[in-house]
Amino acid sequence: MTPINPDQLIVQLTQWALSFLDSYPLVAVLVAILLSTVPLIAVFPGCFAITTWLERKGLARIQNRIGPNRTGPLGILQPAADGIKMLLKEDIVPKTSDRLAHFLAPVVLMVPAFTILSVLPFNRNMIPAAVDTGVILFFALGSVSTLAVFMAGWSSRNKYSLLGGMRAIAQMVSYELPLVLSGVTVIMMTGSLDTTKIVAQQQLSEWIQSSNAGLQCLGQIIGWNVFTPWGFAGFLIFFVASLAEINRCPFDLPEADSEIVAGHLTEYSGFKYALFFMSEYVSAFAINGLSTTLFLGGWSGPNIRPPWSDDPNALLIPGFVWFFAKMFALMLVMIWIRGTLPRLRVDHLMGFAWKFLLPLAIMNIFVGGFYYYAPRWHGIPVVGWPIGFLVMYLSYECIGRLNRGPKTAQRVYHYAS
């Protein structure tokens, strides 16, 4: 019996459970599949519920209100009430709609949203599907959501829906490029598409395995990609592009309520609408999980080895705690942005993707390459870091200035005499 390792408790439990089934390999495979997928399907809708509550409370706080407080303590049961109500609502399918596509759209959105969660490493040895090509599988399945939004918009036979669908396609296809390109930098630097390897690359294993607790903590943080110039720029580009990819404010044009009512969701009611709602949040979790994995060190965080363990990799706090903490932190930033910023216009949105984010992401790839080959002093990137940072900053300024043009500026107002 191996000593109990709090970090790997769930993994050890799973292995222990599976060890009973050694003589039935087929059953063992099925049970293993269930053990890795059922938690996803159970945990993430729960996260979705918490996030909707957080969003309503957070927005209320931003707007000086109280927010839901009649359902349980602090209104924590509000998502449950919403869910029950949505389940009980009548499901309306418009008479002239394309029934099949109208029905399939939420499903097509939901299935990839949950599937892409399986390539995220929530902890060491805790990844539902350890595939060699995790990142590209993520982007590939993520691109299917465009199709779902289009199906919803087109099948509703509503002009607002159609406009929303058209907007969604243009927006999501455009923002996929900076999203993928900023991820490519990380893939290039790691030399792998495997998400577990990308996380491992961000940990300084010598420091973690040393006996000094401070070094153990630091070794889990200092290697994060976000602390490199290309990683920092890449993270920002990735985060902005991911906001657009999942139709969050200020890029929520496909469902811009002040312009096109509710966009592709206009004709959806009841449970289908709830499915849409949930899938969007699950996609948000997934994409935040990926940016956590790529740039924020995945499941690593300030952590020490438990005193009783002699396993050099053992950790006191389970890694998924850090993973979910980072994911929720990014969600909170998204909520904050939603409470603060107005919406972009269609042409500005496209211009922002093609003229600003894309060149910056390409520039970032070059900077990444330079950083990789720049000479180091005792392994510290003394040349790559400052020059890379300078280049990224200058290109940000230059591309920003080229885009801004003379049109928008603060004005001076005069008074009549």
Partner: protein
């Protein structure tokens, strides 16, 4: 394995047939995408995850969306029900197509020893090997394709720009 294969190939064949037969263009495209996804599933069965991912990324995420965009610009999404293409000699056509297909596949079928033996891993399916292959022996091919795609991109830009220019000329 064989069950998964049968289900996926059944989906692939049925959706491919539907893609050809359906009158509604959007439905046809959607079934085409179902076909692509089923194909990606078959690739995964062959342990080619990368190819499956690229299949979905390129065909569902890009090509399919492009087709949908093109359909949005067409006149009749639903198709004209009355004007069916008269299927004269459809059987002959089917027979001819089957004959050609069989002729092409016959050598492969004859060479295969039945019952099928499990394939021994002789190739390295990793992405790294794929990348190294693309970069070392097939560099020129890759470059040519890249050039072609760039040319296509520029051509698309030119086509997209020209009508607006003519409008400006009309105004001036």
């Amino acid at each position: 394995m064989i069950i998964t294969f049968s289900i996926l190939s059944a989906i692939a064949v049925i959706s491919a047939l539907l893609a050809v037969r359906l009158r509604n263009l959007v439905h046809a495209t959607l079934t085409l995408m179902a076909f692509f996804v089923a194909l990606a599933g078959l690739f995964i069965l062959l342990m080619a995850e990368f190819l499956a991912a690229v299949q979905i990324l390129v065909y569902v995420g890009a090509v399919g969306i492009l087709i949908l965009f093109a359909i949005m610009l067409t006149q009749q999404v639903t198709g004209n029900v009355k004007e069916h293409i008269e299927a004269h000699g459809a059987l002959w056509g089917l027979a001819g197509a089957t004959a050609v297909l069989l002729t092409l596949l016959l050598p492969a079928i004859l060479k295969t020893a039945l019952p099928l033996q499990p394939v021994v891993e002789t190739i390295d399916p990793s992405v790294r090997a794929l990348g190294l292959n693309l970069m070392a022996p097939y560099t020129i091919a890759l470059q040519v394709i890249a050039l072609l795609l760039t040319a296509a991109l520029l051509g698309a830009v030119v086509i997209a720009i020209s009508p607006e220019k003519s409008e400006e000329e009309k105004k001036s």
